[in-house]
């Protein structure tokens, strides 16, 4: 009988299901990055003047910046000149209706289990499909439009809603925020845009599905979500990539803005190709995600299930400006084989009685290494602010690592932060117990891991919880009781 470790190794050795690539003609920029490439992207995207300038500005800032090295991940130096910064399926214009989408692209999304259709399975979800650098489709636009909700690709928003984009773009993550954010600002090609007007509760989940297809391309998408006063929106993000021997760079930026009494729930199931068992290939995922709770009693929740990528560098954060605003971060990160993840969150308490909650579940197996890095800062004015952090790690086998690096800075003496951390293992006792009850070994591991992550999984919208549970290796057929 195999040990918990062996089971997880078998599990890990299973082929990445989404690793196929699609032969489709692409319009690609030459490799490399310079002002001409940035201008080329601007031209391809038909940028207005201000945006073209903004990109160049960001590019010049980027040139002066250093790639961060403080995170606990190791990778050979990235040659930023060896990457294509623009790749788009060769289509003359964005299809006017969903029926006009290239059949190759359509069948790829079918294979990925997210058909481009306004149909039953995804009836409760509107999807923006981003293929390499561009958005290829967005469903349910008309229905959302009736409520005044704008859900479209950011390229469209730049042209159709310039006042909103100009007002908010870079207002949470400035162009020069960090090395990867600056790179993104210079070369971002697409992403999703959401605006929910005052008092509107978005009746369906909004979702973006990212797919990297071309070789040697970076994906630099930018998402901007604005929830106006008293509104609510739940947004989902999913991603996969073909299996390739080279590493691919993904440097996204996500900005969320919640006004008074607004709530944004942002969920991610990240399943980029993680590389093979020896650590060859896989996505480098360097992402800046930040939400500003600008308004009073506003709320932003980040929920992430991270199972993919060779390297993850990601700290979805909340800036709690409005009094009584709330920030939450629920995370499951699974690293296996040679995967490395340095992930966590930042909760910056500025307003009075702001509250934050952090629940991080890290599962490490194989030779993988994982770090939770979290900052909780209570500014001077954060009267009565509260934070609770819970960081649990599960180790499977003895070659993996888990590290917890909490930074707590409190500048107001009425503010309080609590931090709890645990480390556990899947024991052979637990596995045997499940198996003696008829549950096959692999299902037993999935069951135990899902149990470990339950608090976080419960935060996911139904549409995603299923996929996420499957990702952790379980199919849940309606819970009992």
């Amino acid at each position: 009988m195999a040990t918990a470790l062996e089971t997880v190794q078998d599990y890990a050795a299973k082929a990445y299901k989404y690793g196929f690539s699609t032969a489709i003609e692409s319009d690609m920029a030459p490799k490399g990055l310079n002002e001409d490439i940035v201008r080329l992207i601007s031209a391809k995207k038909n940028d207005p003047e201000w945006l073209a300038e903004w990109r160049l500005e960001a590019f010049r800032r980027w040139l002066t910046m250093e790639e961060p090295t403080w995170q606990k991940v190791h990778y050979p130096p990235i040659d930023y000149q060896d990457v294509h910064y623009y790749a788009a399926p060769k289509i003359k214009e964005r299809p006017k209706s969903l029926d006009e989408i290239d059949p190759e692209i359509r069948s790829t999304y079918d294979k990925l289990g997210i058909p481009i259709k306004e149909q039953e399975i995804l009836a409760g979800v509107a999807v923006d499909y981003v293929w390499d650098s561009v958005s290829v489709a967005t469903t349910f636009r008309a229905k959302l439009h009736e409520l005044g909700i704008i859900f479209c690709s950011i390229s469209e928003a730049v042209h159709d809603h310039p006042e909103l984009v100009r007002k908010y773009l870079g207002s949470v993550v400035p162009a020069g925020d960090n090395f990867f954010a600056a790179l993104n600002a210079a070369v971002f090609t697409d992403g999703s845009f959401v605006y929910v007007p005052k008092g509107v509760r978005c009746p369906m989940e909004l979702s973006t599905y990212f797919r990297i297809n071309e070789m040697n391309t970076g994906q630099f998408e930018r998402t901007l979500i604005i929830a106006d006063e008293g509104s609510y929106v739940s947004y989902l993000e999913g991603c996969t990539a073909p299996q390739r021997d080279e590493n691919q760079l993904h440097a996204a930026v996500v900005e969320l803005i919640a006004h008074d009494d607004a709530e944004i729930k942002y969920s991610t199931v990240q399943n980029w190709y993680p590389g093979n068992a020896e650590g060859k290939g896989g996505i480098y995922n360097f992402v800046t995600k930040r939400g500003a709770c600008r308004g009073k009693r506003s709320k932003i929740s980040w929920t992430q299930v991270e199972t993919g990528s060779a390297i993850t560098w990601k700290y979805p954060s909340c800036i709690l400006q409005g009094d009584d605003s709330v920030g939450e971060f629920y995370s499951v990160a699974v690293t296996n084989n040679a995967q490395q993840a340095d992930t966590g969150t930042k909760m910056i308490h500025i307003g009075k009685r702001t509250r934050s909650r952090i629940v991080s579940k890290g599962i490490s197996a194989g030779r993988a290494d994982q770090t939770y890095r979290g900052l909780v800062r209570m500014q001077k004015g954060a009267e009565g602010a509260r934070n609770h952090t819970q960081c649990d790690s599960m180790l499977i086998g003895d070659k993996c690592g888990a590290h917890t690096v909490p930074y707590i800075e409190i500048k107001n003496r009425t503010a309080q932060a609590e931090h709890e951390a645990t480390t556990s293992k899947i024991s052979d006792d637990q596995l045997f117990y499940c198996r003696s009850r008829g549950i096959a070994e692999e299902d037993a591991v999935a069951l135990i891991v899902n149990g470990f992550c339950r608090e976080v999984m419960n935060e996911l919208p139904m549409e995603f919880a299923v996929e996420a549970r499957k990702l952790l290796g379980i199919s849940l057929e309606g819970s009992v009781g």
Binding site: Y433, S436, R437, G438, I439, A440, E441, N450, F452, V480
Partner: protein, 251 residues
């Protein structure tokens, strides 16, 4: 239904022999009690039957129905109808007790080519069984064994056993840690499963349990073998005289 012949088992990477030629046959409908001093290998026997890793069979055979039991994985043994009520049930944080049990039941049913039970059917049956074996409905929603008292854990094992309707029940010291009332409810649960086509092995330290679950045979396990076999009166004799005396006589 179960035929153990000259079984040799070693632990500690095979370096420490525990069972040294154990022979035992259980026929359908029979209840066998196994008693023996601490460390005599009672739990080892139960684990070998259930297929736990780390218990190396160095000789002998175990046949269950028509199969070579030792060839089967633990989940296959469960599907074949073996259930072990463990001496130390394990906690599984974050996994609801009722969810776990339904997963278990459906896994067994799938393995046997039977359809899965619906949520409604399952809940109905679970409620009834929980009441019968004295499991507080609250415990069904809590995480598997997490924070359960010793007695609650044991009762939960019996709940699983009654729900899963195994062919061969192996109970490892299910009575230890139970007060007399709990003992009676547990025994009722076990007795409700007694049937002409089901076999049972009841491992216990105390004669007391056998007042409620009346065995057809009592075996004394010592030095890695069944040293003495008798009817239920053997348990009473053991209680009075102790192992040393009784086994001294047998030797």
């Amino acid at each position: 239904m179960l035929k153990i012949t000259d079984l040799h088992v070693a632990v500690d990477g095979g370096s420490k022999p525990v069972l040294k030629g154990l022979t035992l046959e259980v026929k359908p409908g029979e209840v066998h009690a196994i008693m023996g001093p601490n460390g005599s290998g009672k739990s080892t026997l139960s684990y070998v039957l259930a297929g736990r890793d780390g218990y190396a069979v160095t000789g002998g055979s175990v046949r269950f129905q028509d199969a070579d039991l030792l060839e089967l994985e633990p989940e296959e043994r469960a599907a074949a109808g073996i259930f072990l009520a463990m001496q130390y049930p394990v906690e599984i944080p974050g996994v609801a007790n009722n969810y776990f049990l339904r997963q278990s039941l459906n896994a067994l049913r799938r393995a046997r080519g039977e359809p899965e039970v619906s949520a409604a059917e399952f809940i109905k049956k679970l409620k009834a069984v929980a009441e019968r074996v004295g499991v507080d409905p609250e415990l069904l929603k809590r995480d598997v064994n997490a924070g359960f008292s010793g007695g609650e854990k044991k009762r939960n094992e019996i709940l699983q056993m009654v729900m899963l309707e195994p062919k061969l029940c192996v109970l490892d010291e299910t009575d230890s840690g139970l007060d007399i009332d709990a003992l009676k409810t547990v025994a009722d649960g076990v007795n409700s499963l007694r049937s002409p086509d089901r076999g049972m092995i009841v491992i216990t330290h105390y004669q007391r349990l056998l007042d409620y679950i009346v065995p057809d045979f009592v075996h004394i396990l010592a030095d890695g073998r069944i040293r003495k076999t008798g009817g239920k009166e053997l348990a009473l004799a053991l209680e009075e005289q102790g192992y040393e005396h009784l086994l001294g006589e047998a030797a």
